[in-house]
Symmetry: C2
Subunit: 332 residues, 2 copies
């Protein structure tokens, strides 16, 4: 079977460009014993991938030049040499940025019958949804009544964070870029307060929604947002550090918040997290989130590109505000 | 009874000066029912007091101009109208920066018979010792075998952190200012590695002692130290934020670490803490620490000033490297 794949041609400097990637035609090997052949249906691009394009030490090693990129993918099994998986089943894998692949059956997660569109298993029912769930409830130690502020609130993770906070009895405040997204947060998703971070003073805008301060700041952005949120925290507040999209494309080190010492007197916790360390929450996530999504209690949006050749463009679009909700590339 | 007291005359700008304080003669009121009269024996000055001299929101409200300052004190009861405390007993209180006071018996902590010098109950057996114990074992979630790096390692908190790490089966690395302090850490206190932060590259000096990275960075300093330590952390490392002496005297906001995003990919936790939130560890602390100190297993040093009139000078000395270990002002 032929498969097109996308490779990292050179490390992006600043904002990534389509030219940093190349598309390559490959011939997949034959599936041997215990292996399956999968045709991808739906692929994802995520901001964290930008971090992996930098050559530096991290929990997950950086992407290498000339290597086919990886990322979340939902695919359909077209051939199986494994007793564990049948042809026609859908599987979740990390073999994204390609049309198809051959792998051990143990290297993918079977999804059984899909209860929602394939792409939702890359978003609200996949890694971003799990990130929101784990970050808010596990890392953030959310308790009923908590006031939660989330940045990047119109994104796949952020919009789930705010809605989970509401479902669990908290107050949700969100920041996003642009009036349309802000309106979406309050009118469609039920956020208590939302604002356009491009307009007005960040700290004042947070305080408008949380005059008595916030218990949890779910940080997707870093930079100015983190600094402003630190000034609004209640004692013993928690700050799950999930992303720093404001800094991923910086070509020089960006100074951190100049008020980090507030964390000492206020007893604040800033906690970066790796979703895979919270697998003990997976069953609760699958159960609760599937119920919320299929019942319409928790809503999500997607921005969809079609065709593998448009994947670099979809990735670049993550950094210029093209997407609302999860950025998806559908292949079929 | 007459008592001299020290008040904040004006808010320090930058490094505090003796002139920011004034000494005032006062007449104590008569002790009423349930109250005791205490003559202070040993007083403490601590870096955290500098933070409370700034007019800003914090867990503990700032000191007010013209107000008698407060701080840790060990005193002897000279009169008691309470059935709970007898004349001659020693008590720990927060009514420092003064020769004596009248208070409800419930406002002080009775120490019973002292098992060590009075001043040690302000240091290794008091708040700084408890801060080290709680910060390392509770906040830092120390486990046997952990590699611990502590800044300000020759100070009251830092020297206890390193020694507790050693007693509990870890590796201790410390930074301090000056060769004498560095030698003290390795030769007297049993640190595995220590260095002079004023000489050489911080990150390289940490790596010399911890080629495979550190599990816990106990931060007494903030600034460059925090930034360097972030680059040396192992996955899932913990950073108890205890102090930021490098920034207390800054007259303008100091940028935070420019590499805070490392915390995301590495799953790091930065946690400011308030010792009083960890009172459930108090009994263990009293038992273990008293045993370690009286048996000589855990050592401490003090820098002692005599007389209340020298207290501002002792406080100012905290910021110019005058002290090794706890800074104490003895009154008797």
């Amino acid at each position: 079977m032929q498969s097109q794949e996308i490779r990292l041609k050179k490390r992006p400097v600043g904002i990534p460009e389509s030219d940093d990637f190349e598309i390559v035609q490959t011939q997949l090997p034959e599936a041997t014993d215990g292996e399956i052949v999968v045709e991808n249906v739906s692929l994802t691009v995520d901001p964290y991938m930008r971090g992996r394009m930098i050559d530096r030490k991290s929990y997950t090693p950086p992407f290498q030049i000339g290597e086919t990129l990886t990322g979340g993918a939902i695919g359909r099994v077209t051939k199986s040499n494994s007793p564990d998986i049948s042809v026609g089943e859908y599987v979740e894998s990390h073999f994204g940025w390609r049309e198809g692949f051959v792998a051990k059956a143990s290297a993918v997660k079977t999804l059984g019958n899909l209860q929602a569109p394939a792409s939702s298993y890359l978003g609200v029912l996949g890694m971003p949804g799990m990130t929101a769930y784990v970050g808010l409830l596990g890392v953030g130690e959310f308790k009923e009544g908590d006031v939660v502020f989330v940045s990047g609130a119109a994104g796949a993770v952020g919009s789930a964070v705010g809605q989970i906070a509401k479902i669990k009895g908290g107050t949700a405040i969100g920041s996003a870029g642009g009036e349309d997204k802000v309106r979406h947060l309050t009118e469609d998703l039920g956020f208590d307060h939302a604002f356009d971070y491009r307009k007005g003073h960040l700290e004042k805008q947070i305080q408008e929604g949380a005059p008595d301060g916030i218990d949890i700041y779910f940080d997707n952005v870093g930079g100015d947002h983190l600094q402003a949120a630190l000034n609004c925290m209640r004692p013993n507040g928690r700050i799950p550090l999930c992303g720093a999209i404001s800094q991923y494309n910086a070509t020089a080190p960006v100074p951190g918040p100049n008020n980090l010492t507030i964390a000492i007197g206020m007893g604040l916790t800033l906690k970066g997290f790796i979703v895979s360390n919270y697998n003990d929450m997976r069953a609760d996530f699958d159960r609760e989130m599937t119920q919320w999504v299929t019942s319409g209690k928790l809503k999500y949006r997607e921005t969809i590109f079609d065709g593998l050749e448009n994947m670099p463009q979809a990735f670049v679009g993550l950094f210029d505000g093209t997407n609302t909700g999860k950025m998806i590339v559908n292949l079929q």
